[in-house]
Structure formats: C-alpha cells, structure tokens
C-alpha cells in the first residue's frame, strides 16, 4: 500500500488511481458512488460540482483527482446523516430551491463559508456564491437560508 495516493472523503479514506487524469467530479460520481456532486458543464462555469477540499469550495470538474492526494474532501452526502445541520434545516424551512440540481454545489459553497466562521453580510455571501448558477430563480430564498444558518451557528457559538 506504500506509495499509493489517498484522500479522505466525508471522513473515509479512499485510494486514488495515481495514473488517472480523471477530473475529481467523475472519480466521486463513478468510482466512489457519491453522485450528489453534479455534472453541469464540465468547464468550471456553473458550480454544480462544487465540493470542499481542505476547507475551500472548489469545482470538482476542474480538479484532477490525483491532485487531491492527502487532502480532505467533503461532498453534500455529508449531510445525509446530519439533517439537523443548520444549512440543511434552513434550506428546507425556506424552501430554498426548486429543481434542486444546483443545490449540492451551493450547499458546499455555503458550508465552506459557514465553517470559516467569518461574519459576512448578505452581499458578501452572494458574491461568494456568484460562481454557482441557479436557473430556477431561487437565489433570494437560498440567501435567506444561508443567513439563517449563519445566525443559528452564531447562537450556538460553534
């Protein structure tokens, strides 16, 4: 096993095929079976495939899998067992979405903001999400939900 590339995805260690030039998006979807990470454009222009890599929101279609060796990755499946997470709760409460295709990417972009515990204004949150497209027009509700999640997190002091 020595010399094998590995990364940690949602808390589980996975081996990486080191010869692969495969984008992380397809590694996650097809090899690991984490299909909440969505293919939207494959060009780094829509944000549907956003995941968190070592705390930063990144588009997985633009990330080569072998480059995440030794890194920690989170996908929207982290929420599957954490429905009480402030983001998940507030997205449901505000009905922050319509078709839902862009939501995992938006959730990951928001989670990376939330985890950094910065005090961001609504406009700053919006600007941070400009790389994520939503076509249904649910933006305002999504921003409401993220602001509420911020508020809950701050109240908890976490």
């Amino acid at each position: 096993m020595q010399g094998e590339l590995r990364c940690t995805i949602n808390g589980v260690v996975h081996a990486i095929d080191s010869f692969s030039s495969e984008p992380l998006l397809f590694f996650l979807r097809d090899k690991i079976g984490l299909r909440s990470t969505r293919y939207g454009c494959g060009q780094g222009t829509c944000g549907s495939c956003t995941v968190i890599i070592d705390g930063e929101a990144k588009m997985s279609c633009e990330t080569i899998t072998k480059d995440v060796s030794g890194k920690t990755i989170e996908t929207a499946e982290v929420f599957e067992n954490d429905c009480e997470h402030p983001l998940v709760k507030s997205f449901i409460e505000f009905q922050a979405g319509q078709c839902g295709y862009c939501l995992p990417g938006i959730l990951m972009a928001s989670k990376s903001l939330l985890d950094k515990k910065q005090n961001l204004s609504r406009l700053e949150i919006a600007e941070a999400l400009d790389a994520n497209l939503c076509r249904c027009g649910a933006h305002s509700r999504i921003l409401d939900a993220i602001e509420k999640a911020y508020q809950i997190s701050n109240e908890k002091g976490t």
């Binding site: 222009t45 449901i92 319509q98 839902g100 497209l133 076509r135």
Partner: protein, 703 residues
C-alpha cells in the same frame, strides 16, 4: 364556483385509473403530471391528503409513466394544479365516499354519522378504525361521477397546509436524478451533435474514434453518430474528439440576424382574435414595437436519459414533460407499436419548457438499440446543451393604441411576428426529435402550427391586454424559415407581448402626465384586477420617493392567458454601468393557492428568470447554429445581482386554482423595461437591455 369536469377525468373516468391499493394496504395515487422542480408533487399530495383526510406521509403519488398513470398530456402551461390536481380531487372525493359508505355498513350506521380524518374513521368524535381495514373493499372499477362532490372551500385546509417539499432533501444531498441512475452493466452513450439538425456528415474516422479511451462501440446511422463507452467521462471525451475531427456539410441559407429577418417579413398576417372594429373611431394612434432574441432554456443540468432495448421492447427513463407524447414520437422513429415502448419520468434539472430532454431520450434509445438488454445512459455535454437543444423563439411585437380626446385608450391593435413557439414531440404528426432528422430513415419535423388559441395561443399569448380598452384585434405572422430550432419556453409569447403592451401603456400615461399605475387602474376590467393594482400601489409608494437621477421605477401587469393567474410587478432600477434591479414588489392572485409558499417560490423564480432574460440574455448565432460554447458566452443572473423581493399573494380560497409558474415573467420583464425608460428617458426596444443596448439607444437619440 362552477364545477366543470376537468379533461383528464373525461379520458380516465374510473377510480382505478387514479389510484391503487397495495398488498400492504397503502394507497398509491396516479398522476399524469411530473415534478419539474415546481413542487407539484408536494402540492398534489397536499390536495389528496386534504380531500381524503389522511396524513401525506401515509400515501404516495406515482407521477407519469406510460404503463401506469393517466395520460394528462404535457406538464406545461401552469396547468398541473388546475387540471391534474382538480381531477385527483374528484377521484379522491369518490374514494372518500366509498370508504365512508363501506365503513357505515360495517358499523351498521348511517354514513352521514361518520367522518374520515387522519386516516381514521370517526363516529361522533370517537375513533372506530383505520381506513386500512376497508381498503380491500374499494371498487376500483367504479366510475368517478361527473359531479363528484369535492369538499367545500370552507372545509378545506384544516390540516396539512404547511408541509415541506417532499423531494427537496434528497435533491440536496442525494442522487435522485435521471443523470444519477446506475444499473448493472450500464453503458454510457454520447451523441456527436452537429451544428445544425440538417447538417450532413461528410467524413469521420470511425476506426480512430472506436480506439479512443473507453470506447466500446461507435454507432453511425446516416448523419447520426454516437459512441458507447465504459463511463460518462469517456463517452463525453470521445464525442468531443469526434466533433472536432469530423466534417459536415452545413445547410444553405444562413440567417445572420434573426430579428432583422423577422422584421423584414411581408407576408400576410392572420387575424387570431378581434373583439370589434378597432378602426371605427378616427383619432390618434400611438405605437410601440419590442423584440426579443432567441433565448436558452438554460437548464443547469444538461439533458439526459436512460434507455434499454430487450426483446424488441424499449424502456426509457426521461425528464421529458410528456412521457406519452415522447413514447408516441419514439414509436414513429423506430416504426414500432406504441405498446412496445414504456416511458418513465425521472427527475431532471429544471427545464422551463421544452428543452433537450426528449432529444436526449432518442439519442439514448438509438445507442441502446445496438446493445440488446444493456441499459445506456446519455448525458449531453454543455456543448450539446447550447447547440442541439431547442431555444425560446425569437419574436417581435408591434402594438398600437387608439386614444380619445381625454387620453383614454379606446382601441388596441397588435401585430405579432414570430417563430412558432411549439415543436413538441408528436405535434403535427412527426416525432420532432433532433436525431430523427439525422438518421438515415430521416423523419423531418412538420411545419409547426404554433400553439392553438384554446390552449392560450403561442406567439400571440397575452397579446390581448388585460384591460378594458374597447375593441382589440390581434394579428399573427409566423415565420418558418429560420434555421434554428425553437420550442416552448415558459410563458411563450406572453413575455414579449406583455412587455410591449405595458410599455405602450406607460408611454401614453407619461404623455398624459398621469401616474402609470393610476392610469392602469382607470382601465381595469374587474374588481379582482383593481384590488391587485391598488394593493401594489399602496405597497410601493415608499419606493417612488427620493429617487436619484440614475434611478427609476416601473410596473407591469397581466392576467396570464387572459383567464389564469393575475400578477402585477413593481421594480426599482439604478442605471449606471448597466441596469441593476434594486427592489421588486409583486402582488399575485392565483385563485385558491394550494401551497402558498410554493406559489410564491414559483412567482419569485419567474421574476428572477425574467429579469435575467430582460437584462442579459441573447443567443449569439453565426447564421446556422449558436456560437455559445459555455456560460461565459451566455451570462445569466448571478447571486450578487438578485434584488430584494417582496412577494405578496392575495389568497382566494373560494375561487378555483389558476396556476402560478408562468404568470410573472411578462409583468416582471415589463416592469424592468418601464423602469429603465423612467430612469433614462429613452426606451430600449430590442431586448435584452444590456449596457451596449443602452449606449446605442442614447447615441441614436442624441442624433
């Protein structure tokens, strides 16, 4: 309230058409509608729960699939609740009556003594038993009476009013889309779509293509080319390679500027509606012309489908808006009986009308026909999405208003010149699927007749203004010779027609020196629209004060299709480098709102999408195809550009539901265009209202 029989009930009159009881004694209801992201599964479940008296989590809803549910046509036009939901209510009311009467016999009492609530039979306030105990006695062959007695509005919504969207959590954290389907032995397909549907393949090195990484097989049929590969990535990469290496004979007859082409037409208009002689009075006419370019549906997830052939039977999983119509179209392409094909709806990315979903289903079916028994998944590339998918139709509308000496509008005359707004699978008797044209046994699309007036019309939708303006005439001129594919996009012609009509009304109000909103209120057709506009007026007074020179406000109003939901929108804009929409206040009336928050979500989505269309969106073309390769070439509204939204819903629980998803696009676009006019003093008449369009317009006005 009139109790008309909804059309789906006429086609499917038996109780068993709308529900079944599983061996575990659970109720499963059938709807021919599909969830497109508009939340209609949640709303339909709410309607069933409320009508029957059972918790939504105890029942389930099967949406459209050709082997199981009623054929309710396309899920389109804001009709899911209006027709589909009302049909289910009648079916459920019949079921409820049966359950009560079976329970009454069992208890030896009069059915009138019993109630059904929370899935329980209640007699004079006391629990008797759960309805599960009598469900096996339901007669599913019984007819739903045409006058099925649904609950009175006053009895409704005692419970189950505020339920969460049932599908949202999985869409946020899981893999429920057709794009996510995985089956044993599945192969991954990708079509090689040429620039134009009528392009002809000249050369392609099939052997080299078959040696690309992961490619299992290259499929060629006439000018259709596709690959089958071991993964989606390999399929997409091989198709991209093939597209770059292949040569195609392009079509003749480039049309560089679709709008100029429309404007240059001279063939006769067809009169599509006329309520009197618009020329009966002499006097002054004012006119305004507004055009919009082709625009993309722009789904975030590209079109996708899964198909499998087994023993000459085809099964397709699709996010199409009309599974039955897709089935029939596929039967036409493969020249097989409709019974040999099963089409099952599966969630997709929001489509906003007829996008590439059906085309991708045919691509998958063609590719799967080469590998018996193996499921094939096709997910279009972003390139396919921007080149092969049909687009919202380009159009131009000229409206003229006749004024009396007091400045009242006394006649209205509209001329709509447009590409047809509909090319759905099967309409006109041809498949209307992209690859059906490319294959050797080519099936060309019939000339589109556009959407008939009984369904709200296509190009001419909402050309009749929603005011009392005396006689109104609407003329339509369809233009068929543009080389681009157009299809239904949310609200069809209503978007442009409302913008031009509301723009003209604004110009006249300005000229009269009247407040634009007050001028509209003066011409209201009824108390319902008047109440809406008065409410908008009272909610927006503060936004009209203390405006800077670069700021303006505008309103737009329409009743969708003339008979559906009413929506009035107010916006504030600041015009600086470009246009920024600061505030939006809307007031809507959709009759009975099943899920008020769901309705608001739809209205807000329509407003935001419409702002994006109005300020940013135009498909660039080279005369044959689009030249849009990525979202960089086709910017849409971003998070930081979203205005504050105040969405007000006037609830009318005693009125019938009118639909919500398409009522706000026209009014929102009109409000933005009018606000820009207010801020600049100049009207932009060629959409979108970009910075470049503003500069051009200001310069030409200076001359």
């Amino acid at each position: 309230m009139k109790n008309q029989v909804p059309k789906p009930l006429l086609d499917y009159p038996k109780l068993g058409d709308w529900l079944k009881v599983t061996p575990e004694k659970k109720l499963v209801f059938f709807s021919g509608r599909v969830e497109l992201g508009q939340g209609n599964v949640t709303a339909l479940l709410m309607m069933i729960s409320d009508e029957l008296g059972i918790e939504p989590e105890k029942i389930s809803l099967q949406t459209a699939r050709t082997d199981m549910t009623p054929n309710e046509g396309f899920t389109a036009g804001s009709m899911s609740i209006v027709h589909g939901g009302q049909s289910l209510r009648s079916a459920v009311a019949t079921l409820r009556q049966q359950i009560l009467s079976i329970s009454a016999s069992r208890l030896g009492v009069d059915a009138l003594e019993l109630d059904l609530s929370n899935g329980q039979i209640i007699q004079k306030g006391s629990f008797c038993f759960y309805i599960d105990e009598v469900l096996d006695q339901i007669d599913l062959s019984s007819e739903i009476p045409s006058g099925a007695k649904i609950k009175e509005p006053s009895q409704r919504w005692v419970q189950f009013r505020e339920i969460d969207r049932v599908d949202l959590l999985e869409k946020m954290t899981g893999a429920p889309f057709v794009h996510d389907m995985i089956e044993e032995g599945m192969l991954f397909g990708a079509p090689v779509h040429p620039a134009n549907m009528y392009s002809k393949l000249l050369t392609l090195d099939v052997i080299a293509l078959s040696k690309r990484p992961g490619v299992i097989k290259v499929v060629q049929d006439g000018s259709f080319v596709g690959v089958l590969a071991t993964s989606q990535r390999f399929a997409l990469e091989a198709a991209e390679w093939a597209r770059e290496k292949s040569e195609w004979k392009e079509i003749d007859g480039k049309i560089e500027n679709p709008i100029s082409h429309l404007m240059a037409q001279s063939h006769d208009f067809e009169i599509v509606s006329e309520t009197g002689d618009v020329n009966k009075n002499s006097g002054e006419w004012c006119e305004l012309t507004v055009s919009r370019p082709y625009i993309f549906h722009g789904s975030i997830g590209p079109a996708a489908a899964v198909a499998k052939w087994e023993n000459e039977k085809l099964t397709v999983w699709t996010h199409s808006q009309g599974v039955f119509q897709l089935r029939d179209a596929l039967a036409g392409v493969f020249e097989t009986a409709e019974d040999n094909i099963t089409v099952i709806h599966k969630a997709g990315s929001g489509c906003y009308g007829h996008n590439g979903a059906d085309d991708a289903a045919l691509d998958a079916a063609i590719l799967a026909s080469e590998v018996e028994g193996i499921p094939v998944k096709v997910v279009w590339s972003r390139y396919d999405e921007f080149h092969a998918a049909p687009m919202g139709a380009a159009m131009s509308t000229k409206s003229r208003a006749h004024l009396d000496q007091d400045g009242y509008i006394t006649a209205f005359d509209v001329e709509v010149t447009s590409v047809p707004h509909s090319s759905r699978p099967g309409t006109g008797g041809t498949p209307n699927l992209r690859s059906a044209v490319l294959i050797k046994n080519s099936k060309l699309p019939a000339k589109s007749p556009d959407v008939p007036a009984v369904r709200g019309g296509g190009a001419e939708r909402n050309a009749v203004p929603s005011y009392n303006f005396g006689p109104v005439r609407v003329k339509k001129r369809l233009v068929h010779d543009l080389p681009f594919r157009a299809s239904a996009l949310r609200s069809l012609g209503a978007y442009n027609n409302v913008i031009v009509n509301e723009g003209l009304i604004d110009e006249i109000a300005h000229r009269n020196g009247e407040d634009p909103l007050a001028f509209r209120i003066k011409h209201c057709v009824d108390d319902r629209s008047k109440e809406l506009l008065l409410r908008l007026d009272s909610e927006t007074k503060k936004y009209k004060e203390n405006l800077k020179e670069s700021q303006g406000w505008g309103v737009g109003y329409a009743r969708y299709k003339g008979v559906s939901g009413l929506c009035a929108v107010f916006v504030n804009v600041t015009v600086d480098e470009g246009v920024v929409v600061d505030n939006v206040v809307s007031v809507s009336d959709v009759g009975e709102a099943i899920s008020p928050d769901g309705v608001k979500n739809q209205i807000e989505g329509g407003i935001v999408q419409s702002i994006s269309w109005t300020l940013k969106e135009a498909v660039k073309t080279d005369g044959v195809s689009t030249t849009v390769d990525s979202w960089f070439d086709y910017p849409i509204i971003k998070f930081s550009e979203i205005p504050s939204l105040n969405t007000i819903l006037i609830e009318r629980p005693f009125e019938k539901p009118l639909g919500a998803a398409e009522i706000s696009q026209g009014p929102a676009g009109a409000a933005v265009a009018n606000a820009v006019r207010h801020a600049l003093g100049v009207r932009i008449t060629e959409l979108p209202i970009t910075r470049e369009a503003i500069i051009t317009s200001l310069l030409s006005n200076e001359i």
